[in-house]
Symmetry: C2
């Protein structure tokens, strides 16, 4: 394997971190969404790591992917056996060095990990929103994060980064609030969700909707659409791995048996892996949030921002210095899509570098320890920080 899959030993873990909450857009000052609907109050769950410096010039904003959350690094308690989702990237001495930078990560609007979403209580009815929750877009998620930045008194983001749907938020930030973003690292992402990516999301949604327990989204307090959500997650997991990763990880190896069973139980390890991922996921994720967030990703088309209908015109609004990162084995958001993005950025006159990182783990590569990736991120943010001083 070309990548280093041991944990990055170059830094320590943050240790204990805490989830915080910020509530805003209280009526009558609701947030106006891209759809035109109004939503408020809105709560965002967020975490911060490191210390904000006096001139607030060391902010790194991290955006999570589809099923991520605000818990990007550290542990909630000593008993916690799993750190945040990007603990290999964020911490003291790590690529995003919390000894130098003040790192913020918030759960997206529409999510289910502490931020307001379809599982939250609709103040008008006193019951969970379900599918009455208004439609949210990547632009709306960014709008809510902007309110959090305002609340924290942050006017300038030194650097922001995220992979997959996190990368979409990064791109959106750079054109929606261009004066605030000094530099950006969109990873394993796209400026326009492809037909293939929409197709996978649509089938995943249909799997949830086909579950009678989904009940048009009105299942809170009753039986949850766990079977449908589990199938949806399995579909996702296939897209996160590459053909090669699957071959190396599973091949045709059998699960807990020496020979084929000629039955319909699990025979192959890859079957067992997928079922396990599906079963684990339903314990932590809300099916309606899955529907809302996948739809937000499907709607993402930066080239149509403010009806520009041109990637070059859209990026000409941006002021950030960019480092775009793609991964060789990512077939969900393949390298050619990053190249298109980089070309448009260059034509817009932006300062952009592009790195295709060698990785065998498919789309998920951005989440996994990878020395080349951490070196790139460390080098880019440190250089931006030096230049900005």
């Amino acid at each position: 394997m070309s990548e280093d899959i041991t944990h990055d030993e170059s830094g320590k873990s943050l240790g204990q971190v805490e989830k915080q909450f910020f509530t805003f857009a209280e009526p009558p000052n609701e947030m106006v969404l891209d759809s035109g609907a109004r939503l408020g109050p809105i709560t965002l769950a967020y975490e911060t790591y490191g210390t904000l410096n006096r001139d607030k010039s060391n902010v790194v904003l991290v955006c999570h992917a589809l099923t991520g959350d605000s818990h990007a690094a550290g542990y909630y308690s000593d008993a916690d056996d799993k750190p945040g989702w990007w603990d290999n990237m964020i911490g003291p001495g790590k690529a995003i060095d919390t000894d130098k930078y003040f790192v913020i990560c918030s759960n997206v609007l529409g999510g289910c990990m502490g931020s307001t979403g379809p599982g939250s209580v609709n103040p008008e009815t006193g019951r969970p929103w379900g599918m009455d929750f208004p439609f949210v877009t990547i632009g709306d998620m960014v709008r809510a994060q902007k309110a959090l930045m305002d609340h924290l008194g942050i006017k300038k983001i030194l650097s922001m980064t995220g992979g997959s749907m996190g990368g979409m938020q990064v791109l959106q930030w750079c054109v929606q609030y261009p004066e605030m973003v000094h530099s950006a690292i969109p990873m394993a992402t796209t400026m326009r969700h492809s037909a293939l990516a929409i197709a996978f999301n649509e089938v995943a949604r249909q799997a949830i909707i086909a579950d009678p327990n989904w009940n048009n989204g009105d299942y809170y307090g009753g039986k949850k659409p766990n079977l449908g959500l589990s199938v949806a997650r399995m579909i996702g997991h296939i897209t996160y791995l590459s053909d090669e990763a699957m071959r190396r990880k599973f091949g045709r190896q059998l699960q807990d048996k020496n020979d084929l069973s000629y039955q319909f139980d699990v025979d192959f390890q890859v079957e067992s892996y997928l079922r396990h991922q599906g079963a684990k996921f339903v314990e932590r994720f809300d099916a309606n949030s899955f529907i809302y967030i996948t739809k937000a990703a499907d709607y993402f088309d930066l080239t149509r921002f403010e009806n520009a209908n041109s990637a070059i015109r859209v990026f000409s609004k941006a002021m950030a210095r960019f480092m775009v990162v793609s991964f060789t084995s990512d077939w969900l958001y393949p390298t050619y899509q990053s190249r298109e993005m980089v070309q448009a950025m260059k034509k817009s006159g932006l300062d952009v570098s592009f790195c295709e990182v060698e990785a065998e783990w498919g789309h998920d590569a951005f989440l996994l320890p990878n020395r080349r990736l951490t070196d790139l991120v460390r080098g880019f943010i440190d250089s931006v920080y030096q230049d900005a001083k």
Copy 2:
């Protein structure tokens, strides 16, 4: 587009064809399956096109893919608006020329288009088998086809071909009944089902199993698991197309609207296409057959035939002349898998040629009119026929 997607004008349609049935393995002479179970009686639905010559030397056996059937070419009646699934390939003057060859295609064992499968009546109970139907393998499907050849008095197959799971049957035939197969064209296939291919099938099966109407396979006469089967089909359809095909066919085009709806209905054409494919499929296919047949494909590993544990050793049993065909944009059974197969065939001393056909339509390319493909097939079969005379 590099391929010719108009219908092949070089031949006429067969006109009216008829589905026939052959029943064998009557108790106590049941067929012994790879699992060790016994099954009988067995009916195979089949069709033949063209005329068997006097010395029975002009037989072309065509094997269908996962959800195909015996209806490879022609029309059942004048009112029929759709010909068989390979009508562009098979007919008078076409690549598989029914003016010269006697073409046979049968529905696989375990299927639901006239052959015995889980939807057939279990003679012991008088009720449909459901999940009590015995487990079938590609080897069992081939064993049943062999009985049909015996019934038709055919001792030698001039050439056999099929794509995808049809190609697996072709490969299996060549090592299971080597003396009978004179030449073979496995297309868009693999000698060993990959972890990725198993993963897609497993998720599709889970989508069916998650449907409460599936009821452990006991749904005949009641509500069918149409929602689950529809999701399963949608998953399949994604794998049959390529990223590029989806971009060209759908891109981000909206369905019957000028702007995004900010609702959870269909927005994009690709969503509408998938839902339509799912809905159409449940009208013609049995969910249990889908489970059985996908599992047979997942079990397929020719390298383990008769415990050889070596592709070279297995192919050294074969006597056929081969032409292996893969398609550039097929990511379900990618070209590298065909190359591995060809290398093993060569090392076994077989006469094999290999063609990677330029095609943008992904795995489904073998089903679509493609001048290069039809020229290859025509040339190969005609040359084999000349040499055999």
